[in-house]
Amino acid sequence: MDAWIEFARGPLFRIALTVMVLGLGYRVVVTVAQIASAWYRAGDRRLPLSDITEATVKWIFPVRLLRTRPAYSAASFLFHLGVVLVPLFLIGHVALLEELLPTAWPVLPPLAADTFTVVALSALLVLLVGRVVSRSARVLSRTQDVVLLLVLFATLFFGFLGSNPTVSPVASRTMVLIHILLGDLVLVLVPTTRIAHCVLYPFTQLLFQLGWHFPAESGRHVAEVLAKENEPV
């Protein structure tokens, strides 16, 4: 068992982490390049930067979020809080990272980490139920939307059992192994699924605003390609 755990938290983790870092790096580089290119091509390069900044910042805080569908929104906020804080600040995770690179951030006390984990798990349940109960969310949901939530739930759940042997129904080392394997899977999924918004979020409001800033020659070029320059309306 220990050998498997060492493999999962060693080479496998490093591969998964590398995939995540490179994948997210690629996502960011491509997105920034697209934004730069779109801005360069735009006929009107003036952008309402204060509006864009405000729209970006306001969604980080839950006040705005809670105005609509409060239960679902609160769950979403708490879930995000948990999945950001626990992976980055849990003492075990920080120790694991320190084997690869120097880390200089504080760790969560075990009780706080457990609390955040339970809160995130509860929030995930609400989100899952919301996906089923809410007609619009149910209609909209793709397989990946549900599967991702289940994978994240399982990762947190087995992690919690692994770090709390007294409440674990089976050997906690088994729980730890499952947790690490799922964690490695999540790392790979981060850049390849919608979880990529963790790094793309700062750009999205800008990007969609910039989408309205068309290249000056776009219509004429399209007409040329489609041989419609002289075609009547």
Binding site: I35, D44, T56, R194, S218, V233
Partner: protein, 468 residues
């Protein structure tokens, strides 16, 4: 199969329709910034359904096809399948899917059930702009001939017809109308106004929604009265005098051509600025796309008439009587000028001054609800029931709650739609007017405008007409 929608279409050539759609889509993606938008939408969408809580169409219809995210998915599915490596692989080794006419028929219907009000963007944490994706989808559809007949016929007349305006008003009729309005203003209000025609070298060239010449004489008279009172340097150009721009609703190519026509008219007349009348989409299309298509910093500046009037009043060049309007009055924010935050407070400052009983709708401003006729749908008469009973239901309830008798809607499209909404929702006591209809009634005219004698009898009308 033929393409069949709830709106009228000109005959659509269905030969290789899907292939032609993909070719047009590819051409647009190559020469625009839309690929960036679609890539981001594909990546970050969480399909949470928050947009359903803000869409006035979905709130009433409760029909999943009206969920903004669902509508965008129709185009995103094509994009992923044909323009991303992952989509091509999935189709080859997973679930094969090919675009066909039936799918395009669905798109054709559903992309015109959206009023393009962009309210959904406010509630999307990722800022996904379904209005922009709908705008793109409509453009691609238009390139294969799928566009409401009402929009394309009007645009054809504006760009290539003899009259160069969407209502096909001949120049002689325009001049006659202006002369009639000048005489009518003397008779009704005892005020001398002027509509300068083709006067060169002025500051502004005026572009109202051309339908105002047929349907909104009080708005136009109010515009002219403000100009006469302030000594404004303006003119109407007979080369182009229509601010309507249906290109905003279905084709960037047409959008470009129409704003370019406006800028050319300003240059022909040696003027400096474009002055847009009371019309939301005309204002937005000029404000944001004259710069895009007509030379950025070299393009003529665009001013909305309400901005001009407020500036004139605040600087003391325009006198307005306080509390001149006695009926309970509310204000409808046209999406095209309010969603960006451009024009929200300007008309309100005037209304709070001239109205005895001004009340707000809730929500308003940037978060206003669409009248239900946005995105060009107001011009499609054959879908009136959908527009008023579905698209306009939330707005009707908003108006009802204010208890207002007057709804000020500074937009030709909103006015037409709101009158129909009021009619279809039993709000018979409500009159829908323009801001300048009320400004005209509240005007404290300078001496040079006042006509004395039998014609005017020194008494001005204070009746709000509101409908013709």
């Amino acid at each position: 199969m033929a393409i069949e929608c709830s709106y009228y279409l000109e005959p659509v050539d269905t030969t290789d329709l899907a292939q032609r759609f993909l070719k047009a889509f590819a051409a647009i993606l190559s020469h625009s910034n839309y690929a960036m938008v679609l890539d981001a939408a594909c990546t970050v969408t969480s399909r949470c359904g928050r947009c359903t809580s803000t869409c006035p169409v979905y709130q009433t219809s409760n029909d999943p096809r009206d969920i903004p995210c669902m509508r965008s998915e129709l185009l995103l599915k094509i994009y992923r399948r044909y323009f991303t490596p992952g989509g091509a692989l999935r189709s080859r080794f997973g679930v094969p899917w090919e675009l066909d006419e039936a799918y395009l028929n669905t798109m054709a219907e559903e992309y015109y059930r959206c009023t393009a009000c962009r309210r959904c963007k406010l509630e999307c944490p990722m800022g996904i702009d379904h209005g922009l994706i709908t705008h793109l989808g409509r453009w691609v559809l238009a390139e294969v001939g799928i566009v409401p007949k009402a929009l394309v016929v009007a645009t054809r007349e504006q760009l290539e017809g003899d009259t160069h305006n969407t209502s096909a008003i001949p120049k002689a009729a325009l001049v006659d109308t202006c002369e009639f309005l000048e005489e009518d203003c003397v008779d009704e209000h005892g005020l001398k106004i002027e509509f300068p025609i083709d006067r060169e070298g002025g500051e502004y060239v005026f572009f109202p929604a051309v339908s105002d010449y047929l349907l909104e004489p009080d708005t136009l008279t109010g515009n002219a009265a403000v100009m006469s009172a302030t000594g404004g340097s303006w003119t109407i150009g007979t080369g182009a005098f229509d601010g309507i721009n249906y290109g905003l609703f279905y084709s960037d190519r047409m959008l470009d051509r129409i704003v370019s026509m406006e800028a050319d008219e300003v240059r022909r007349l040696g003027a400096q600025k474009i002055l847009i009348g009371e019309c939301g989409h005309a204002s937005r299309s000029a404000k944001y796309f004259v710069r895009t298509f007509c030379g950025a910093d070299d393009a003529p500046e665009v001013v909305n008439f309400m901005e001009y009037t407020l500036d004139a009043w605040k600087s003391g060049r325009l006198g307005l009587k306080k509390r001149a309007i006695t009926e309970r009055t509310t204000y409808h924010d046209p999406c095209n000028i309010a969603r960006s935050g451009w024009i929200i407070e300007q008309p309100r400052e005037i209304l709070r001054h001239i109205c005895v009983d001004y009340v707000e709708m809730t929500p308003n401003g940037r978060e206003n609800y669409c009248c239900g006729g946005g995105g060009g749908t107001v011009s499609i008469d054959e879908i009136r029931e959908f527009r008023t009973k579905v698209g306009g239901a939330v707005k009707a309830e908003q108006i009802r709650r204010t208890g207002a008798e007057l709804v000020v809607a500074p937009c030709a499209n909103c006015k037409k739609q709101l009158r129909e909404v009021c009619e279809d929702h039993g709000l018979d006591h409500v009159r829908v007017v323009g801001l300048h209809d009320l400004v005209l009634l509240a005007l404290d005219p300078p001496e040079h405008m006042v006509v004395r004698g039998d014609a005017a009898a020194g008494e001005s009308s204070t009746e709000v007409r509101g409908e013709y």
